[in-house]
Symmetry: C2
Subunit: 408 residues, 2 copies
Amino acid sequence: MKHARSPLAQPFPDLPLIAGVSPRVARARYKDWDRCDLSYVELSKGTSVAGVTTTSKCPSPEVEWCRSALKHGTARALLVSAGNANAFTGGKGRAAVEMLVATASDRLGCAREEIFVSATGVIGVPLPHDKASAGLEAAFDADPCSWRDLADAIGTTDTFAKAATASAMIGETRVELCGVIKGSGMIAPDMATMLGYIFTDAAIAPALLQQMLSAANRTTFSCITVDSDTSTSDTVLAFATGQAGHAPLVSFDEPGADAFAAALTDLCRQLAHLVVRDGEGATKFIEVRVSGAESDASAHRIALSIANSPLVKTAIAGEDANWGRVVMAVGKAGEPADRDQLSIRFGGIEVAAEGVVVDGYDEAPVAAHLKGQEIVIGVDIGLGNGVATVWTCDLTHGYISINADYRS
Amino acid sequence: MKHARSPLAQPFPDLPLIAGVSPRVARARYKDWDRCDLSYVELSKGTSVAGVTTTSKCPSPEVEWCRSALKHGTARALLVSAGNANAFTGGKGRAAVEMLVATASDRLGCAREEIFVSATGVIGVPLPHDKASAGLEAAFDADPCSWRDLADAIGTTDTFAKAATASAMIGETRVELCGVIKGSGMIAPDMATMLGYIFTDAAIAPALLQQMLSAANRTTFSCITVDSDTSTSDTVLAFATGQAGHAPLVSFDEPGADAFAAALTDLCRQLAHLVVRDGEGATKFIEVRVSGAESDASAHRIALSIANSPLVKTAIAGEDANWGRVVMAVGKAGEPADRDQLSIRFGGIEVAAEGVVVDGYDEAPVAAHLKGQEIVIGVDIGLGNGVATVWTCDLTHGYISINADYRS
């Protein structure tokens, strides 16, 4: 089932090649379609790897494999299957992962822990060995492909291909970062997992790369939500080939580390926003900014309560300046809040302050802001210095059509 | 804005009169409508009262008043305004509550803490003193009305009038319980608060009545959700006039106490289900039963994660036996769970067991169950003895139409 391109879609950017990264795609035909659905990215020896995975208590075997392989710290290849998530498939699912890992590691003559795998698509159906191995063999023999081909091959229900780039100076060396991502929110008819892959020619020790990715994740991928549902397979991996030639970074104290971390965070934010922009049925991109909470963690929970509220999301879909629904969402978050200290802004325009609507409130400019595609909801709790920003989309008939007007 | 009667609506039941309870309704005209929207229920002297209110951190002044008045333990009157929630109105809202309380307590010559008030409807607009006091004066002079009139007068976006009854034997005395409730889920264009009122002629000491209502609430009102949003004004009050003539119950050790508590819990469950049956856009009534969790509390959190998942709710709307979405919702609950121990049932039919789809799974009987209006999702976590049941409804285009195709 293919859906119309999101009105919030962005054009595919120009991405530079990354030395030591060789992506290839092939047709495993996990579904009855004629498209590349198996991706194989070969990485030069000594590539560092870091990753973050779903918080789900029922993760896929691919996620379990990545979690354990990440302890090894280096990577030689990434394999991504699209069309079959291989989740909730018991021992058969684990066997499929082991087969793919063994095939790739035997070919590259590397440790099994240097092979990283992901899968996205239908759940409950074990990844078919024959299709997976035939697809992998075809990918081995394929020519290197473009970033666009890779972004297309990892996609499932996505309505547009998603990628971003950034760069940083490490000493005198300019390093490049490229990322591709798929997902149309946490959910989809076939459970659109968020899978993101970041590649850089920088030389970063695995422990430092993990430290940087985990920090970036906290303010980017962990701050997006389409409908509060969480895939069993969400995975973001970062690979640093070290081909740029500078001395490897091992700690934040070294020159260039902060610059690289900033570029990585910027890239993660771009990729995270693209997922929200492909949120199912989305017509508005919503930024929720919370300030004045008792702590940043409290602000984050309040922001997610607002961003996950169907009441708030449908109000934005209806271009309705319904600040009462924002009050409701703050109240239900369970975090410290004082009704009479709250202030609420839409698009920077104060609507309510100190617990009541502002004197002479003029809805016209607020209504104008809500007619746009980029909505900003600001809430000040008035209690402390805690701040947080999260991103989401509106909740529309399109969402229901995609998820309810459907049979598995 | 009036919506079509819910397909899950129930006929209004026959309710007995309750000695010591005199309901009256009048037109305060809080909105531009010609209907009774102010309810005044006079209660005989010595009536015990108990209550539970919203967990929102931003409650309405009515909720704050009820919370403090409940410490007093007795009630002489209940006032309910429909059409204006008086929430998020600062000092003006508090003043309106004090005015209504003063007017009623002066008339009855009782303590102010014996007057209970609720309001539901538009938020952010202080309850207008003139309309409220004129409506209250008209109610004072009105003839006693029927339960149906009361149920209609407290309603806002409800699509059908909701009431239930139960009875119990306390010693040789039969006592009657009647309840009315309004709300179409936690939410609505004007924030459809859940307001419930229970009246009985039994004689129950306030502390015991509170103990019974709090216990009943935990397995009834606290176990329903339409979309996870929580009103700033939710309130359930129980009034016991003691007119039945039996010796007052003061502890659970006395004969009849268990029977009354059971009848109260049954009444609360009936009322809670009626709210779900009027859930916005609802076409299916869904019972989620979780067993095998590490504790009852853990089972409850898992059940709510399933019941609040847009992915699960849209699947049911689509009559789709998408058990993968149930796995997802279990996984995201954050509670102890082992993917390979999970089993899932639809309508009692096992779909998945020990982490994989059952051998020879036949979807036909499951599909037949999902075509009905009463859906049962069963999940066994396989770890312990914790159990919980919650009730919700499906998520449909009707929900979006009510909440997004709307301007405040």
